[in-house]
């Protein structure tokens, strides 16, 4: 199977107003998830990109919830496609950095 290319346009930064978007080109095969793409970026290009997940593509942990082209989705379920896909942190919750938001129960934080 030949690889296709996706462009992930990813929000970067620790505050919503001061952040910016960074484009990453990611090779993929049909069926790969957005989370596959984000982990490839972290391993090959930019380990500073903050992403959080635990179960990896099984949609059990529910930690990889984010905005994908403006819709709340799980990155492990959303598929990579050719062309530009914009990825943002979840809205209406405190932003930690990049795609990681503070969704923990208060009593589970330090």
């Amino acid at each position: 199977m030949t690889s296709k290319m996706a462009c992930l346009r990813v929000f970067r930064g620790s505050d919503r107003a001061g952040g910016c978007y960074q484009d990453y080109q990611v090779a993929f095969e049909d069926g790969d998830s957005v989370l596959d793409g984000l982990t490839r970026i972290r391993a090959d290009e930019d380990p500073s990109l903050a992403v959080r997940f635990s179960c990896f593509n099984a949609n059990v942990c529910k930690e990889c919830s984010m905005l994908i082209d403006g819709k709340v989705e799980y990155a492990c379920v959303a598929k990579l496609t050719e062309g530009i896909t914009q990825v943002d942190p979840l809205p209406k919750v405190p932003l930690l950095r990049d795609l990681v938001t503070d969704t923990l129960a208060k009593k589970e934080r330090l």
Partner: protein
Amino acid sequence: MKEPVTLTTDVLVIGAGGAGMYAAVSAARSGAKVLLIDKNVVGRGGATIMAQMTCASALGEAEPDSPELHLADTLEAGRGLCNESLSALLCEGSPIRIRELEGWGVNWARAEGGGFSQVKAPGHNRKRCVYVDYLATGAAICATLRNKVSRDDAIRRLSNATITDIVAHEDVAVGAVGYDIPTATPLIIKAGATVIASGGMTKMFQRTTASNNLCGEGIGLALRAGARLVDIEFLQFYPNGHLAPRMVGLDPTTWEPTRVKLGGRLLNGRGEEFLQNYTDTQGGEAYDTARDVLTYAIYKEVEEGRGSPHGGVYLSFQHVPADAIERALGPVLEIFARNNIDLTKAPVEIFPIAHYQMGGIEVDAAMATAVSGLYAAGEVVGGANGANRLSGNALPEALVFGERAGTSAARHAKRDAVRDWDTAIALPYVDTIRSIVGRNNGNSAAPGHLLRELKALMWSKVGAFRTAGDLAAARERINAMRLNDIETLTVADAATHNASLVEWCELRNGLLAAEALALAALNRRESRGAHQRVDLPQADDNLRKSQHIVLSGGTLVSDFAETWL
């Protein structure tokens, strides 16, 4: 990084899956204050939540059964290497824990007559395995335990925090060091007793059923603290692991329960059934085939040129009527459809996939390690399953051993606790973490890059079928990764949620686990259970004994001498 925060507790529990949460509940029940820490989210990470269906428990409601019969099946599957006292504990404790969980809200499936619905899983001689629902048993257990720990005032939960070292003082485990991931705050934890319940190391394999946090860190923590490993070379490959087409949004272990439930047919690349050619020595029907035998059969078919297009075998449901599939699978069909899988039209391809670590930290029947004050529970513990684990024995291992470890740790904390120690003892560990932040920033490979190489290496050279040459090469490369490569990795200097620092710390302890596995597999010069040596295909009666590994002066050392237990 910020200044360290010091926390004090009676019992520290590292890892909040099934074993860790049960340990927290039982320690609190024994009167201890508990700090329950998880690298991800308490009750949502780890392996338990991924468990699909079966939980073995000799409740004897579907047909006459007893813990003794369950033990006999477990010992037989273990191929002579079970620690019998641990196996017996698992089998005797399971019915108690299953009933207790029901009291806390787990809605185990019930038969028409009102008793527990119990099914027969491969390798069991009785209808013994309880379940909540098809594909949802682990999630139900986790939801109940998460609810339980969150309502107990004696348990403080801390999600998104990771432990990097056990602090030992005068040969006693007195707490741990780690950090809070979101805020990059180092943690110095003074604990009367510590329970490692961080799960196995199957993430270290390219194809795995593991969640992202199962990278063997508990093995590294225990080795550094002076504890011993037992039979770490035994790692179970799950025969019916999903291979193709690419499927996301569902666990790759989906096919074993689906196959049993619907009567799926395993076919080689030529469309022929093949299991009957491999099961003559084991006996039983195809669905009863033990996991190590089934894995062997699938490998052989592929090796001899009878594989499917992606290098596995087919699992076909095309003989099952469409309405029966729909009735049995319900909403799961939508997930299949999103992945272009239509079971009525085409088979899927499966191949064995790294699934469960049988070996692990050596403990006694109180879950105590060789280090005073240090306990362990769940998949990270070795011994109960010997050389091969029965389907359905992982959940009781987590629940029963978790309960036992929590009780033992609470007792130790009450009796022998050392909590009044100088924080300065922990500062070298804190400095290790601090020195990594921003190291080699941008000038070298990322931790994820090295992890990818490690996963490919473990898959190709330390997998289900092994040779001395492959294992020696793997061990040498992993040793170099552990001592050299790791020092050169890029770590971001981000102050909040520094994922590359988390990954670096995973590698630091996880590479110890990976090297221990390669070393142990090299030293066990026979084939037994899940450890199959192509160059030594027979079991050797002289090696019907356990192998231990310790970390001595930075070097992993193995021997087959009698245990300290």
